[in-house]
Symmetry: none
């Protein structure tokens, strides 16, 4: 079964409003097992809306329109759908009374143009608007279903969940079977293309279960999708491929779905009873900020010295002056000393040191922009990775922070 | 002149990703005076993308596609456009080298499937991707212009502003006229309603020139919009109202357009030759991160101690233990001591101290969530403001950082 979304509103095409309705409806329809092949946005214009309706009706079973339900002249979704279907609109007296009573309860005066919010195609279902004045409308016309929902996201989402979704389930009960479930696996320390090579046969073999790769900053995501009766059925269906993927990617697979690397590291620190402190140069506090964004992080995170100036590296952090002079502030030696010093100064179990060149200035042929040393000091040893990141200042800093998390994750995974 | 947007990506139709690209591009095109009548989203599917291209080409002068530019098999936007236009794709050796060299500089291995990112329609313009591996493409084919941009919003916005927008202006220079110009004024230390009262007559009087207020986190924005021939004409048209606004708001107006409070403070520090250091508790490095996001910040910013644990406040920052015990870590006294100590320890001219309760846990009737003390230590004195912020953990932390900037801005404005 296929649905198509039509978002109506000139404000969307002027960029004044971010269209969040599409994401919500797409998620909802996916969870019902309904495919969306197209979504169209069109302005408050009768002719162009007619054109969009014509195209959508030619290729979908269910057409959902959002927006253009209000009282003003440029709200014309209902009128245009009626015209398209060659069906009349008639005032429903009970609805008119309802809308009038809303006005009586508010400070606003009734104006005649509110009438049209109470007009519907005879035989359609009226969808109640609990938090706004414009009701929605649902009808089956021949093979197709049409749903009209208000544009404001709060009104739309509420109306969809309370009234539109049950209507779809009832009207299309024969077409709906097996809801589409999906889960996202997250990887670090490997590229999208590297992962594609590693999982090539699985990516191509799957029929019922589909796999798709996405590159995000500092991590790669793999989405596993299939139709299933419920969550448990879904888990069973994907178990073979999931296990095979995990087997091949143990060094890279760190989390699933909404769980972030920050969460994973936080949980491991808590579980293994380790405390952490950080010393940051080029990331300038970004790692500290990210760690402390987690509520309750004071249980394992002690603090940071952001040693942006060399004088701070030496005076506050106690990096030996001769290391700074001999190797430069951006060096393996200084990165390791930063990690070791912050660990000792704060008395934490683990210490991270980050020093590098985030750019755009400050690079040289020997030490180009993107060169970052990330060190981890533990009770036993200190390790340091030399990274060469692509991207602008912001991206280089973000990648550095993610790599630091990756180091801590790798270490804690292999620690009792 | 009419443009049409085609967003390519199954993740958009599954509701996994919010489509922010449409809003950005719609705003940009509106500011160029280009109308958008339709926007379509289509999945990673050759046939349906061909269908979308056919429909769009039938009704628009400029077609902008976003997404589906990556190295994997389901990235097929460029291939499908070439097929639609019946034009070949050819590997451009220089681009291939460029992409390969990106791989060489990074820690990742080159895989063959990255090749296709270097393939383009002969005669098209290659749009450089400064922060990702997939370049974009622009070409004029008959009457129509086609633009392909990457899907990730950071890459897309940067490529659009740097390369695509100039291309549009050049290729369609005859069609573009009477562009809508606007400028945004930014204010701190006053509410939206306070500003509305202050500017009431101006907000209502304007006809050709329109004014609109927007409340953002920690600042209020006022947009001035009017049609003009060019930037200079625009500046002349708005000068009277602009001057009147500035006259009434000297204590609050701090910047215009893309300039942030961070930029303003950075420029003032440089100009007045002041150095700064920070000591953060509840903001956990967010102020340091924000200060060091500015390239060249090492000229005036020395560093920070993120004293998340009380032991760090005492041991590293040297806040007297009796202050911590008598007043608690979240107190005016400790906030001021943090600012003074970091100033002395780093030898900076100015020191900021922030201590508070960001929540969701840790509040009490005497010291509720949202209570934050922000102190500024200067060569002459130390001042401290007690703030009561609303919002969640993230918002409270962001408001604290912005208030710290406001303190520094106020001080530097009144200093020789």
């Amino acid at each position: 079964m296929q649905a198509e979304l039509i978002s109506v509103g000139t404000e969307l095409l002027l960029g004044q409003t971010l269209n969040t309705n599409v994401k919500f409806l797409a998620e909802q329809l996916a969870s019902l097992g309904i495919n969306i092949y197209f979504q169209t946005t069109v302005g408050d214009n009768r002719e162009r809306l007619l054109q969009a309706l014509r195209i959508a009706t030619g290729r979908a079973d269910l057409i959902i329109l959002t927006g253009g339900l209000g009282p003003t002249e440029d709200d014309l979704t209902k009128e245009t759908l009626a015209e398209f279907l060659q069906l009349p609109l008639e005032i429903v007296p009970a609805e008119l009374e309802q809308i009038k009573s809303l006005f009586k309860r508010s400070d606003f005066n009734w104006t005649k143009n509110n009438d049209k919010q109470a007009a519907f195609i005879p035989g359609s279902s009226i969808l109640k608007n609990e938090i706004g004045s414009a009701p929605g409308m649902a009808l089956k016309n021949g093979k197709q279903g049409y749903l009209i929902l208000p544009g404001p996201p709060r009104e739309m989402t509420r109306m969809f969940l309370q009234y539109a979704q049950p209507w779809i389930k009832e009207i299309f009960q024969d077409e709906l079977q097996g809801i589409l479930y999906s889960t996202v696996l997250k990887f670090m320390g490997i590229t999208e293309s590297g992962l594609e090579v590693l999982l090539a046969d699985l990516l191509h073999q799957q029929k019922e279960v589909t796999l798709a790769l996405y590159a995000k900053t500092g991590e790669i995501q793999l989405r596993i999708t299939t139709r299933a009766q419920n969550r448990k059925d879904f888990a069973q269906k994907i178990t073979p491929v999931f296990n095979e993927i995990k087997k091949r990617t143990t060094a890279y697979f760190f989390a699933q779905d909404d769980v972030t690397i920050t969460d994973v590291v936080a949980q491991l620190l808590l579980k293994k009873n380790f405390t952490l402190s950080t010393a940051e140069s080029c990331t300038g506090g970004m790692l500290a900020e990210s760690l402390t964004a987690v509520p309750g992080s004071s249980a394992y995170y002690l603090g940071s010295i952001v040693s942006y100036a060399n004088s701070v590296k030496a005076r506050l952090l106690g990096v030996p002056q001769d290391l700074l002079e001999k190797h430069g502030a951006v060096s393996r030696e200084v990165g390791m000393a930063m990690a070791q010093q912050i660990r000792v100064l704060t008395g934490s179990d683990l210490g991270i040191g980050i020093t590098g060149i985030a750019g755009p200035e400050g690079g040289s042929p020997e030490k180009p922009v993107g060169l970052v040393y990330i060190a981890l000091a533990t009770p036993d040893t200190t390790i340091c990775t030399e990274c060469h990141f692509m991207g602008d200042r912001e991206i280089i800093r973000r990648r550095s922070v993610l790599r630091a998390y990756y180091l801590i994750w790798q270490y804690l995974q292999n620690t009792l």
